[in-house]
């Protein structure tokens, strides 16, 4: 291995996976695999920290933060626990730390979730958005237009997320339901913090989005301004298949 490779191999990105045990049933860990591999293929080392309910976590040590979707049961426990980290997560967001939150975690990064039964699960209010339970389950293939191009995914939620005035959406719905099935908006953005309903998982088939998160982390930590390109033939082929499937 060349000397330059050796020195880049020392550069480490720390990924913090929030509540991997409690919120884990929709294949969202594929996003962690994707971030990890795309960093490793470029010669960086990855350290993965998994933090569950009650665990001690140093949010400041994280270069990328991820949280996935789960069941209501997991979400209730997580909603309470997440409050411990609210302040640190706000500080990290303002500091430009890239975060990806899917479905359940996305909802809890807003003002909170009111279930159909009227139960209030508090959020940490990074997004100016509120989620309410509905009787309609919004399920199917979904495509959205975003600053990173057209993204393909699969959505499966009954919560309807309503963005408040001034809260920027992540993308606009090309087909599917998005945040609430009516507004045409999908997800939310605040600095480098992204919330979305896209499972699939979202990152493997949408490498431009994955690389944007990676670049934001490398820029913030090491001042790196450009990523070495990768061969994304397989990624784009899968994206194309998804695009052709009915909603």
């Amino acid at each position: 291995m060349s000397a330059t490779k050796k020195s880049t191999a020392k550069k480490t990105i720390t990924i913090l996976h929030l509540y991997p045990e409690e919120l884990n049933i929709y294949g969202d860990r594929g996003n962690i695999i994707t971030l990890t591999k795309r960093l490793e293929w470029r010669g960086y080392a990855v350290e993965l920290i998994r933090a569950g309910v009650g665990d001690k976590v140093d949010i400041k040590s994280a270069d990328i933060i991820f949280g996935g979707g789960g069941q209501d049961r997991g979400q209730i426990a997580v909603g309470q626990d997440l409050q411990r980290h609210a302040k640190a997560l706000h500080a990290a967001a303002k500091d430009g730390v890239p975060m990806l939150t899917i479905c359940g975690t996305y909802q809890l990064f807003g003002r909170g979730f009111t279930t159909l039964e009227g139960l209030q699960i508090p959020g940490i209010e990074l997004f100016q958005a509120r989620t309410i339970g509905s009787t309609q389950r919004m399920i199917g293939n979904v495509s959205i237009e975003t600053p990173f191009g057209r993204l393909e995914g699969f959505e499966n939620h009954s919560g309807r997320t309503l963005l408040e005035e001034g809260q920027e959406a992540f993308g606009s719905v090309i087909r599917g339901f998005g945040n609430d099935g009516t507004s045409g908006k999908e997800g939310a953005v605040f600095h480098n913090v992204y919330g979305t309903y896209l499972h699939g998982p979202v990152l493997p088939k949408n490498p431009a989005f994955a690389d944007a998160l990676i670049l934001a982390a490398l820029k913030r930590k090491y001042g790196i301004s450009q990523l070495e390109p990768l061969d994304d033939t397989a990624e784009l082929a899968a994206s194309e298949t998804a695009m052709m499937r009915p909603q």
């Binding site: 409690e22 049933i25 069941q71 199917g140 009954s158 493997p204 088939k205």
Partner: protein, 456 residues
């Protein structure tokens, strides 16, 4: 409408649809009968002399029903049973109609129904079974059912509508928690495995319900077998693995069979089944628990179980000339991990064809592929082809496990031909399809060789 008239009309429909050869006509007569008389199912089920048994849960319904059918038949019962796959309300009603005589009587003695989780509220209250067995609950087609807890709630509603004796898997926390739905808490018993010889796959992350149903905290496991199956307790003391009435221990496994001891009350019995994998031991325990409950001796149950073959498509071996093909159905991450554990870690170099579809019956969301422990195969040197509607997704998943793919071809017929052609003489190939891919692959293989199994 009088019962006999509904039966007569539905029976004629059944014969007609058979005559024109529409796949045995398994659901249509039931559908029509229920339209004519919404209560027809419960009216007919009541007439089965020895009552009925319901088998439900995510994985193993068909195999467990097959096991129970063998045990019950060997003990002299004659069964009214629905066909595998026809496990919704109309499939059960169709079976009830098919078996009843025009005079309105059953010559059969007992009902045995495998029931889809989502159909439990309707079917359980219709059939009023004497026993319900719940095997396991894994995420499976979340796109169809919503959440796993929702699925559990549906089964619970079914249970609560009956007076049935419950047989629950002690090692699955969500299944064990279904006891709370029992109308009589004395009518609950558990089966489970004491210990296993295998270690859990290091990349197994399929713990779908590994949190406490009461408080949502992650459960603590003293033993972890696969997925969320094992010996667990809530850190706050809300739940723990219940005491078992029927349990297995001293397990030895290979890719064709499993040997183990079965403990019932204070007695130990030796068992051998010609079905591979831990999951089939659970199926055998479920069958043993039920048949023991209705008074069949453990030894004769185990004797019957030793004659059971795998349910069609689950594990099937097909010969094409000198070449041997395994057909291994996968439906969800837990089942896929079992296939990897049991079949794909045998040798360094095996030939494998994955066929992944995303039709309704497969589950339209293929996100679950990312929760399968493909990283177990990274150190192997398998030759892997990929096919099916979502072939490109599968190839991508393998890429991120650092596993190269020889050929990606969404056309199943072409992929199968190439895969078989490139197998060495006397070689073995492992075909791993999702549900509709399995039906498709089987149809195409049927043009090459005579297949023994029929889809019923």
């Amino acid at each position: 409408m009088p019962v006999f008239l509904t039966v007569l009309i539905a029976k004629s429909l059944l014969n007609l649809s058979r005559l024109i050869g529409r796949g045995g006509g398994s659901a249509l007569p039931g559908l029509v009968a229920e339209k004519l008389d919404p209560q027809i199912g419960s009216k007919l089920a009541k007439r089965i002399p020895h009552g009925s048994i319901i088998v439900t849960g995510t994985n193993g319904k068909t195999t467990t029903s097959k096991m129970l059918a063998r045990v019950l038949t060997d003990s002299g019962e004659h069964l009214v049973a629905n066909r595998a796959g026809s496990n919704l309300s109309r499939g059960v009603v169709s079976a009830l109609i098919e078996h009843i005589s025009v005079s309105g009587r059953y010559n059969d003695t007992m009902g045995l129904f495998e029931v889809d989780e989502a159909a439990m509220p309707a079917v359980a209250s219709m059939v009023q079974p004497r026993a319900i067995v719940v095997l396991n609950l894994f995420r499976d087609q979340l796109d169809r059912y919503g959440e796993l807890d929702t699925t559990a709630g549906l089964i619970g509603r079914g249970i609560a509508a009956t007076q049935a004796q419950l047989y629950l898997n002690a090692d699955d926390p969500l299944v064990a928690s279904l006891a709370s739905y029992a109308t009589n808490p004395d009518h609950v018993s558990y089966f489970g495995i004491d210990d296993v010889p295998t270690t859990k796959l290091s990349h197994d992350v399929t713990a779908d319900s590994n949190t406490c149903p009461e408080c949502g905290r992650a459960l603590i496991y003293s033993k972890s077998f696969f997925g969320h199956i094992g010996h667990y307790r809530c850190p706050k003391g809300h739940i723990k693995r219940p005491q078992t009435a029927v349990s297995a221990d001293k397990i030895t496994l290979n890719d064709r069979s499993a040997s183990f001891t079965v403990q019932v009350e204070d007695e130990q019995h030796q068992a051998k089944i010609f079905l591979p994998g831990l999951y089939n031991i659970y199926n055998a325990l479920a069958a043993t628990a039920v048949s023991n409950g209705i008074g069949i001796s453990v030894d004769s149950t185990l004797e019957s179980l030793s004659h059971v073959q795998a349910a069609f498509g689950r594990v099937e071996v097909i010969s094409v000339g000198s070449k041997r093909l395994y057909l291994l159905l996968v439906k969800n991450p837990t089942g896929f991990n079992q296939v990897i554990h049991t079949f794909l870690l045998k040798n360094k170099q095996q030939n494998v064809l994955f066929i992944i579809n995303d039709n309704f019956a497969d589950g339209r969301d293929i996100s679950w592929l990312w929760d399968v422990a493909f990283e177990e195969l990274t150190a192997q040197h398998h030759t892997i082809d990929v096919s099916g509607i979502r072939a490109t997704d599968m190839t991508l998943r393998l890429k991120y496990a650092d596993i190269p793919v020889r050929a990606t071809n969404d056309k199943v017929g072409q992929a199968l031909n190439q895969f078989i052609d490139q197998l060495p003489e006397n070689g073995t190939g492992y075909i791993v399809p999702t549900y509709t891919a399995m039906l498709d692959a089987r149809k195409k293989l049927g043009r090459k060789v005579k297949l023994s199994g029929v889809w019923e």
